[in-house]
Symmetry: C2
Subunit: 141 residues, 2 copies
């Protein structure tokens, strides 16, 4: 299925209207091998949409389960497409992230298995954020 068609379906399935800005963001995220910071998306969106539009767009994408948002080792928000069929009700992003201190890249490590963790009594978990900081594959070259 061609990209644009896939995006159209994706947006429709999540009750979102198809707009140039949204298609562009989906394209950017799809073509990236890693999670992208807001500033980077904005940079690539030049002339396509206003800053505010981008903020609001990302918020609704996240609410609707199209993308997930993580924070790297410096607290910078990074966005990536959800792999599975997330939606507004079941929005899970249970995989390990790797943050590179050299290139500042954030990678989703889908192959790493999440260990089970038992919480102390009284606490109830709704989601997990596991991140590893270090040097990535590329930067070690």
């Amino acid at each position: 299925m061609p990209l644009t068609e896939r995006f159209t379906t994706l947006l429709k399935n999540h009750g979102l209207k198809k707009t140039p800005a949204r298609l562009r963001v989906l394209e950017i995220l799809t073509k990236s091998s890693q999670a992208i910071a807001y500033s980077e998306i904005e940079h690539q969106m030049k002339a396509v949409a206003d800053r505010v539009t981008l903020y609001r767009l990302l918020i609704s994408f996240e609410e609707q389960g199209l993308i997930h948002k993580t924070f790297d080792h410096q607290g910078t928000a990074k966005y990536a497409l959800c792999q599975a069929n997330c939606d507004i009700h079941t929005h899970h992003d249970e995989h390990v992230h790797f943050n590179c201190t050299q290139c500042n890249g954030t990678f989703c490590l889908d192959t790493v298995i999440l260990p089970a963790i038992s919480l102390p009594k009284g606490y109830s978990a709704s989601s997990y954020q596991f991140a590893i900081t270090g040097i990535c594959k590329n930067c070690r070259g």
Copy 2:
């Protein structure tokens, strides 16, 4: 050992001068059962120190291994005292954090054992950030 004396030693051991602002921050962090956001510390520091001083103070505390800094589920920076004998060379903070979505509290779960994780080839880890988001003990009560 009384608090003030302990703080004095702590600062001296890390090559930091003893100042009212620093003593106050140590006191605030010591008396808190959870990690504290910058804004909260600033609020409790009213009239004791300038915003900028607080920022710089926290940075040097972190560099010298007196405190550690984490980001909660909303990307807010939170600070807490280091438990062990961290210093500028060996600064480790390998425990699980719990972020409550109701009170926005961040707790260090020292009792939870960190699982071992094996990275894909090519990646090398220097630190780990494991966080669990949910409802904390107090908010369930």
